[in-house]
């Protein structure tokens, strides 16, 4: 096994022949007068995400019951939405294998990509986002950022041990180059625009 010093030493030897180049200035490429929610919605559609503006969790729950009437186990990582499997009682991630619908509140949306940002804070158990057969996600419409540049400029974005930009459901095109949704992760993702209640965020 190499030591860190030996390892760095061979890199320094390789670098002896290189001339250092400058770090470029990276603009954020923001566009003036852009309707963030409209762009986000356009790209959600491209990612096969169905979305709804709702004014209450009950409204969202009703929509999910209509969309997925056969789902038996609902596990939610947000207190706003009560499921029938308690995520806090989960001892091992694999215990989430029976979840039909996983629910959580995303922390951010990226308009350019139709992506949402989740971390271990929003998922509680990371596997919820991937073992669940289907996902229902809440997002505050005020939490949409324009593009990847503005997203990565969010202070503390990478503070969490785990964070993921999720663009719709899981997908593959590995068989005959045909796009199939529901590869190993969730088969569908439904998004609900619902404001965060002030008392829950402590704002």
């Amino acid at each position: 096994m190499s030591s860190k010093e030996d390892f760095l030493q061979s890199i320094r030897a390789g670098l002896a022949k290189r001339t250092p180049t400058a770090y470029p200035y990276i603009p954020t490429f923001e566009q003036a007068g852009i309707d963030l929610k409209a762009v986000f919605e356009k790209n959600l559609k491209l990612a096969a995400v169905d979305f709804y503006d709702v004014s209450s969790v009950e409204e969202a729950q009703k929509i999910m019951q209509e969309r997925l009437p056969d789902v038996k186990v609902v596990c939610s990582a947000t207190d706003e939405w009560e499921g029938n499997k308690d995520i806090d009682a989960v001892e091992q991630p694999r215990d989430l294998d029976d979840v039909g619908l996983g629910v959580f509140r995303a922390e951010l949306g990226v308009a350019e990509m139709g992506m949402i940002w989740v971390t271990e804070k929003s998922l509680k158990v990371n596997a919820l986002g991937y073992l669940s057969q289907h996902l229902a996600v809440l997002l505050d419409p005020a939490e949409i950022t324009e593009n990847m540049h503005t997203a990565y400029q969010r202070p503390g974005l990478l503070d969490a041990n785990y964070g993921c930009f999720v663009m719709g459901s899981s997908a593959t095109a590995d068989i005959g180059a045909v796009l199939v949704r529901g590869a190993q992760g969730a088969k569908s993702l439904t998004l609900f625009f619902l404001k965060t209640k002030d008392d829950e965020t402590g704002k």
Binding site: S2, P24, D97
Partner: protein, 462 residues
């Protein structure tokens, strides 16, 4: 190591039937076209390519500093970082971590570095079960073949091939070739194995010095399952994956999947900055020839590669011959310039497996001068006498002839006449020249260009 016979391998793919080569070509060109459409929708696309290239060059020319910073920050967050000089060390470290945790079975997502190190056969030999969880990689694992494409590992197989394979290996109906049902069958087959695995292994697309974060980009969600289920996560990361800051990701995430498949991004862009509660996280930072490549004046820029596969999708030679022809972990144009750095003898034929059309350089999102480097590798192979004697002599003869106008004119006339007289059995002989198959020499005019030019110039002057 035995020289890879690219021509023979390519012929095996091309001549198996008239379906595979057509499908392969169509699917890859389709990816290239989708890339063009995606790129055209971003007004700053070319600026992003310039930025990506500049960030990579800056990082590579300060690699020791950024690597040290990455290690410090990752360790601060409780990640154990290991250093592997070569493939053997990488595999030994992986095995040591796994065996000290009494791991019997691992699940892994796609990692070109682990592929490069030959990790799976190594671990299997030691008695550890390895399950590839990316669908394409799983297909290749079951087929006992290396991946033929860095993004679409099984793109050289048709859905009929895969239906037959799954019927044999996991008991599906051999007549059901529907990609969705085949996918479901594999999803159901893999799920229990995900749940029971003792450890998960991933690669890393990017590693951020400023935060100690590594990023994994996937479409299937298999990397996130791999990382979120077992109590142990090991990531293999090549030293060239380092980026200075989180904001650099803004540039790279915008260009990676658009270049690869024409989608805005991969379905999942996963960031790992520390182990989850109650779990362990290890990184094996691996050199395996990269620091030596950094010292190579003509070839160091190949380290900028972000493994998008755009150069493969656009390459007319790759699309026709398939990735298996290259007999290497990395195929296509990028493979031609990377593989010889591992073994210049074994991969000495690769640089000649190119038309030098330059399309690879045109689509590369980080501006690697791929076509130029292919040319430079040809020079190296000629100098090292790694090229067949007959071909070397032919090149030499052409060199002499082109350097002597009178000689050229004499040879030209003889050749013109010869082509018109000789039978096709000689001029288009597949044995003498494997590239002659499926190709026809054009009809040759009686008059050489020079004769035509002298005559017509006189006409013009009058």
């Amino acid at each position: 190591m035995k020289k890879v016979n690219v021509e023979k391998n390519a012929a095996e793919f091309i001549y198996q039937d008239d379906i595979h080569v057509t499908e392969h070509d169509k699917n890859l060109w389709n990816a290239r076209q989708k890339r063009d459409t995606a790129a055209a929708q971003i007004p700053e696309w070319e600026e992003l390519r310039n930025l990506a290239s500049a960030i990579k060059e800056h990082t590579l020319t300060h690699l020791d500093q950024y690597l040290e910073q990455f290690v410090t920050n990752a360790e601060k967050r409780g990640i154990k970082v290991h250093f592997a000089n070569d493939a053997a060390e990488h595999n030994a470290i992986a095995y040591e971590i796994l065996s000290s945790h009494r791991v019997k079975n691992i699940i892994k997502s796609k990692s070109m570095l682990q592929e490069e190190c030959g990790m799976t056969p190594f671990l299997e030999e030691k008695g550890i079960g390895v399950l590839e969880t990316d669908l394409g990689e799983r297909i290749q694992q079951l087929s006992e073949q290396i991946p033929s494409h860095i993004v679409m590992p099984a793109i050289h197989q048709t859905k009929e091939d895969i239906a037959k394979l799954f019927a044999e290996k996991i008991g599906t109906d051999p007549n059901n070739t529907d990609p969705a049902s085949l996918n479901t069958a594999m999803r159901n087959n893999a799920r229990p194995k995900f749940l029971l695995a003792d450890a998960g292994m991933t690669g890393g697309n990017f590693a951020i010095a400023e935060t100690g974060t590594f990023v994994v980009c996937t479409n299937e969600g298999n990397a996130d399952l791999t990382a979120s289920l077992p109590p142990l996560h090991i990531a293999s990361i090549g030293i060239e994956k380092i980026l200075p800051k989180a904001e650099d990701l803004g540039v790279f995430i915008r260009i990676l999947s658009r270049s690869a498949l024409g989608t805005p991004a991969t379905q999942y862009t996963s960031h790992f900055t520390g182990p989850r509660e109650g779990a362990e996280m290890h990184i094996i930072l691996t050199d395996n020839g990269r620091s030596k490549r950094l010292a190579m004046d003509e070839f160091w820029k190949s380290l900028k590669c972000i493994r998008c596969g755009a150069c493969m999708n656009t390459c007319p030679v790759y699309r026709r011959s398939s990735g298996l022809a290259y007999g290497a972990t990395y195929s296509g144009p990028i493979g031609i310039i990377i593989d010889p750095t591992f073994d210049a003898k074994k991969y000495s034929e690769l640089p000649f497996h190119s038309s030098l059309c330059g399309s690879c350089s045109e689509v590369c999102p980080v501006h690697i001068n791929i076509a130029e480097q292919i040319m430079d590798w040809r020079k190296v192979m000629m100098k090292n006498k790694e090229v067949d004697f007959s071909r070397r002599m032919a090149f030499k003869a052409v060199g002499v002839m082109l350097g002597h106008p009178k000689l050229f004119r004499a040879v030209e006339k003889v050749a013109y006449n010869a082509i018109n007289i000789l039978p096709e059995a000689i001029t288009e002989n597949k044995t003498l020249d494997p590239w002659a198959a499926h190709r026809k020499l054009p009809d040759v005019k009686k008059e050489t260009f020079r004769e035509w030019y002298i005559k017509n110039r006189k006409n013009n002057e009058q």
